[in-house]
């Protein structure tokens, strides 16, 4: 598509969503990026005006609009707080796809999304190769965090303190089939997502331990195609659709109750953006696959949500007495996209023996925003420093968060600041407790989809 009339026509399809923005400006209160820059084009109201102006041909510079749309963490804080209920994330992702379709994908992104991400085998091989190289080129800086930094000046890594890539993706050894007959008991497909699979395999291990403890029958595939969010946020609809198809190829033959992920962003993508992009129509995901995608999306749960709302994990009645203290950061894609904030705290409390200290503004974005961190590291860091200060104020030994991308950002922030706090997923904390205290109570009535409590548990989505 290189026809400006076609660009305008496609953008006009967003009109019914755009028109609900009343310019009230309340998004300024919650946007982490606007908080750091004070520029109107960084906040949702400004971006919506630019998309609208482009669609009305008041503005004739798609490149400039794209640049400004790309400066966004896609954290969804604005949408969650929007008085008018404007579907801001939908608008941004669709507009990125439309404008990228017009301008074309940059050669680098094309190479990454179409050459690598859409080919999981090739992607695995590359990462394995990179994992071998990181020894000579990086050094460990924090034992608590397990973080590293570059030994030599590196243009890509810069000053980042990062988590090393696992020598082998978790799924290579972790894959498994359903073991038991269909009924009774719960059947769960475990989807680790790229970051857990390749950077935090320990989180996947923890999920396995916890699901085994709760006697859930688990399937894990021998390949992990990306959920598609990096491609979608770059406006590469073609790669996004290819990845959705690859995932559906795995899910299609399976008979299961839930698809579970420990990644806030994967959960939000599968639950919200897979259906949203299908409903947007005009793409390659048409016909029979539509209903299958919607069905899979409906069955998708965050691991904390599964543990609390389905498996009935509860906080103990007695307050914790342990010496260790812990705080929790709400990933945007759990709390603001899906309304999940109570469940991870319940999982942490269920682990017992930890004193929970709530941080100031626990749902303030950490500044990671996926590829935003790669493209705008300075801004990402500026936003992150506020989060770091809030974490340190609690005096906690451990900061838990339900998203591997947030875990990376928190690790970088803590490690560079020289703070020896551990960063963990709530499911890790819970799994450790199971190991240390084998007598921990297991709730009996796991809920299958279809009954009333289940409906209540998913109320927040509607």
């Amino acid at each position: 598509m290189a026809d400006i009339e076609e660009l305008v026509r496609l953008l006009k399809e967003l009109e019914e969503e755009l028109v609900h923005c009343t310019r009230c400006g309340m998004c300024q209160a919650v946007c982490p990026l606007y908080g750091a820059t004070g520029r109107e084009t960084d906040v949702a109201r400004g971006k919506i005006v630019l998309v609208e102006n482009l669609s009305k041909e008041i503005l004739d510079d798609p490149e400039a609009v794209k640049q400004r749309l790309d400066r966004c963490l896609l954290c969804g804080s604005c949408e969650a707080a929007c008085p008018g209920g404007v579907p801001i994330m939908d608008i941004f992702l669709k507009a990125r796809a439309i404008i990228t379709g017009y301008l074309g994908l940059s050669p680098v992104k094309k190479a990454i999304f179409r050459g690598l991400l859409s080919n999981p085998d090739r992607f695995d091989k590359l990462l394995k190769w990179m994992a071998r190289l990181q020894g000579p080129f990086s050094r460990q800086v924090s034992e608590t965090l397990g973080s590293s930094c570059a030994r030599f000046m590196s243009p890509v890594i810069g000053d980042r303190h990062f988590m090393p890539i696992a020598s082998e993706a978790w799924h290579k050894k972790g894959h498994r089939q359903f073991l038991r007959p269909r009924d009774p008991g719960l059947r769960v497909v475990f989807y680790p997502g790229c970051l857990v699979d390749r950077i935090f395999p320990r989180v996947a291990e923890a999920v396995m331990k916890v699901l085994d403890f709760h006697e859930v029958d688990v399937f894990a595939a021998d390949r992990v195609p990306c959920c598609g969010i990096p491609a979608l946020s770059a406006g590469d609809r073609q790669s996004f659709e290819k990845l959705v198809r690859q995932n559906m190829d795995i899910l299609d033959s399976l008979d299961f109750d839930y698809l579970v992920t420990p990644c806030a962003t994967c959960t939000a993508t599968i639950r919200k953006f897979w259906p949203a992009m299908i409903e947007a129509g005009a793409g390659g995901l048409t016909g029979e696959i539509q209903e299958k995608v919607l069905a899979a999306s409906e069955k998708t749960r965050d691991i904390n949500e599964l543990l609390v709302d389905v498996l009935g994990v509860q906080a103990p009645a007695a307050p914790a007495s342990g010496a260790k203290s812990l705080t929790y950061h709400d990933p945007c894609h759990l709390k603001k996209s899906l309304g999940i904030s109570r469940q991870p705290r319940t999982v942490l409390a269920a682990a017992g023996d930890v004193n929970f200290a709530e941080m100031r503004e626990p749902d303030r974005c950490c500044g990671m925003g996926g590829s935003f961190n790669l493209q705008h590291y300075g801004l990402s860091d500026k936003i992150g420093q506020k989060k770091l200060a809030a974490i340190l104020e609690t005096g906690a030994d451990t900061v838990a968060t339900g998203c591997p991308a947030c875990m990376l950002q928190l690790t970088d922030l803590l490690s560079r600041g020289g703070h020896a706090l551990a960063v963990k997923h709530p499911v890790e904390v819970y799994a450790e407790a199971l190991q240390q205290r084998p007598g921990l109570q297991k709730p009996v009535d796991a809920q299958k989809p279809g009954n009333t409590d289940y409906d209540k548990a998913t109320e927040t989505y509607r």
């Binding site: 009343t22 209160a29 630019l50 510079d61």
Partner: protein, 460 residues
Amino acid sequence: MNKKLVCEFENLVGRENVMAEQADRQAYSYDSAVLEPVVPALVVRPETSAQLGKTVRLCNENGLPLTVRGAGTNLSGGTIPAAPNAVVVTTNGLSGIIEINSEDMYAVVEPGVITAQFAAAVAAKGLFYPPDPGSQTVSTLGGNVAENAGGLRGLKYGVTKDYVMGIEFFDVNGELVKSGSKTVKCATGFNLSDLMVGSEGLLGVFSRIIFKLIPPPKDSRAMMAVFDSVEKASETVSAIIAEQIVPCTLEFLDNFTIRTVEDFRHAGLPTDAGALLLIEVDGHPAGVEDDAEKIRKICEQKGAGKIQRAGSAAEKDLIWQARRDALPALARLKPTTVLEDATVPRSRIPEMVKKIRDIGEKYHIDIGTFGHAGDGNLHPTILTDKRDKDEFARVEQAIDEIFEAALAMGGTLSGEHGIGLAKRKYLEGETSRGTIRYSRRLKETFDPVNILNPGKVIGD
């Protein structure tokens, strides 16, 4: 704008603080009022008071209209650039709280400080800054002063002007003008601070503001009373005041708003009620208990169907949730929301609410009315779709009639949103031709080149 001039602004405030690209400028062409946008020629973001003064001077030397913008939440068009050659000066680079003085109970701030953040900082020092406009989580104190913003606590605590002790501002030549003081009493020189309050960017550019702070109330009680008619609710308001009780908030929701909020939140509001009153009293614990009981009795006497008193903080929050939901719930019904602030003496509220209902029926448009019953400041909220030309023309006629009615009842055009562009055509109706001439001569004296937000309030 020519490159040389852009360069001069860049030299003043730094390249990163000057926005000349079309895409950036278009994002400063609007505010929250339902009016046509105007794209400015340049956007400048000073980060120091000195830069601000020089920016004003440079605009004046080049005859460039200057519109100051805080958070751009104005509901009367005051922050829409005055002309296509205008420079928008944003104040969010000037957001320092210079001092909060607990002993002398005042604070000094820069204009870009966000209202709610200031109120929180003041509260952390054990003091209280009462003005709480609806946009307080994003609005700036400079904007609040320039518009004389109100809020829910107006009845008991007054509005922004009641807390301004002094203002330092730049005249068009970039010279600093100081007025007011940190002292309770001040009889020094002309009272220019009061002239600046509500001046809507027409007379000077604020650099610093001194605010009065007060001790916070020790206790509070909230309740919700359900009435089957607006008349009964309004009589209750009058009776409460006649009893010499001054609630800190006394809010009203009409039937249309109640139904919309209930559809939105499903919190169990009585959808058949004619009106709801949300009432809060604060002060000394003993007095508060006493007042709350008296109010309960008055509500009963006046025929309230149900009175719900908040026992806990959570219950109190639930009561206020209904009020907080009013605007978002209404705004979701239709794409365009026109929020007005016509204000009448509080005894005329039933008459005004009925009038607004009649106007809505006459023009076949949806209007939800809620607002500050205690001070007569209503928010008739018109729900429409500006793309529907026919309906929008009827909306404009309805707005004309709403203001006409407010004035006929001895009310005012604006309780708290200002005149800006949207209401300047009605100004003579409330004041006089002479008032406008006088105001224009005043502006001419302060601003001979007419660069400060020209065309707003009093026209050209």
